[in-house]
Symmetry: D2
Subunit: 156 residues, 4 copies
């Protein structure tokens, strides 16, 4: 295993797990993580979930899955339960809750050890470069819907 292998997290039977470190840049004057930063952590996790299933943003934008397209967040419902602090290593867990023709609903959770810090329900749509809604390409649907036959475990 190379040093970059774990950068993208790992797939589970029902989704994906990404470890994220809290740095100076993520904290604010109050001493804990700035609330909007959790959305960054969740976006990184969604990106790496897709990446490990074979879909990356650059290819998507370049038309590698049909016409050029991108994912856009349409709705978020977020509970900020407990704060994360500098130096923490967080675990971002992502699951597909619903997979429709025009949108995906994901459940995301940020944990510190056994403690849940943030939970979110995220609705994502596929859009054209001009921002018009698009149907999700079959290939993307197939990739996202299929539970990985042999779920990858966290490397020992």
């Amino acid at each position: 295993m190379t040093t970059t292998a774990s950068l993208s997290g790992y797939l589970t039977e029902i989704g994906h797990v990404l470890n994220v470190r809290v740095y100076f840049e993520d904290t604010d004057f109050s001493g804990v993580v700035y609330h909007a930063r959790y959305l960054h952590f969740m976006e990184r996790a969604r990106t790496d979930f897709l990446r490990l299933r074979g879909i990356d943003h650059r290819t998507l934008a370049a038309g590698g899955f049909g016409e050029p397209m991108a994912f856009a967040v349409r709705h978020m419902d977020i509970d900020f339960l407990r704060p994360a602090r500098i130096d923490d290593i967080l675990e971002v867990r992502t699951e597909t809750l619903l997979l429709g023709g025009a949108r995906i609903v994901l459940g995301q959770e940020i944990r510190l050890g056994a403690t849940t810090l943030v939970t979110a329900k995220v609705k994502v749509a596929v859009i054209s470069p001009e921002g018009k809604p698009r149907r999700m390409p079959e290939r993307v649907m197939a990739v996202l819907g299929a539970a990985s036959a042999a779920p990858q475990q966290p490397p020992a």
Copy 2:
């Protein structure tokens, strides 16, 4: 009017309006504003709403309203309807929807001209420096609850 007067926006009969410019830093690779940046715009607006009512974060943290305390976002429900773009001047509108002893619920809306781009319901709580929930000080309640007698208009 000085050049900094309008930096904090203005109070309305039922809330507050802040104008925000979209810069390079707010956009991403997709060409539009990164979704988490709207939370920054809304946090700036909440801060300036409080500021124009006489409450600033530094005084709050230093115990100027009783024991040292801070506001923390507990819940957000956000609809991302249309994207903002570089150079846009956005209008962030904030209203108090509910004012309880331990939390405030605010309604926020980001507009470009007559078009609504983002709407959010934001639940904010008062916490101690250690993150414990605190009752909202009477003085803060009074300030937030009172509709300004003579609402300030946008300077002509």
Copy 3:
């Protein structure tokens, strides 16, 4: 004067001044502004300096000044002298030090009242959408080089 007029700062005889508020998002765990945020403040000031001279990024990228192009920072030499804090209103001062065919050198200073917090020398180049260096268009040169005949004062 509308509430948005002062959002872009104002031109001076030799450059530009922009007022910037420090918000939660700009601070970190140490209680002061995160060092990289000063680069954001300086980028906003450069953008508004160009804007008040009639050049905006969207038009530039769309080919409104010849072929599509963008400005890119090539070099920065930055002194972080004193920290800014939450709620501060900073003044970002920008001057053109050198205006060549392929690059601009700007001097930038961030002040809190009479105190200088950060100074920087910034070398900016014009590039194509693919990142290739380009000669600066005559029209951009003319606009940037010409000291405004009647320098705008801060609105009283």
Copy 4:
């Protein structure tokens, strides 16, 4: 090796190497990484360099190395040579160039494969919580100055 082991990079004979992924949040409207984000990547690398040598920000701030203190960036000289793009995995290399009683000078380089994208010379000082300059504690000096006896290799 656990999945989080490589999160902090690894020590080399003369410094430290950290791998960083470029996400949506790091890019801007121009299609490449926003210039100030490279300072974040370099700050993460400095933090992890210290961490692997046994110094973390929380302990430092809590007085674990004598009086409470923090590191603050005093000067940066940065060359932005080539842009990074979304999905790139960058390598941030850090070396101690000078280690004095009141400051450290570090050399940092961001690479994509064999290509150097950004280089920087960074002067860092030790300060009190009130921002006053402090002498670097012996223990911090010792830790930073000592080349690790058996430099850790990237895990195979």
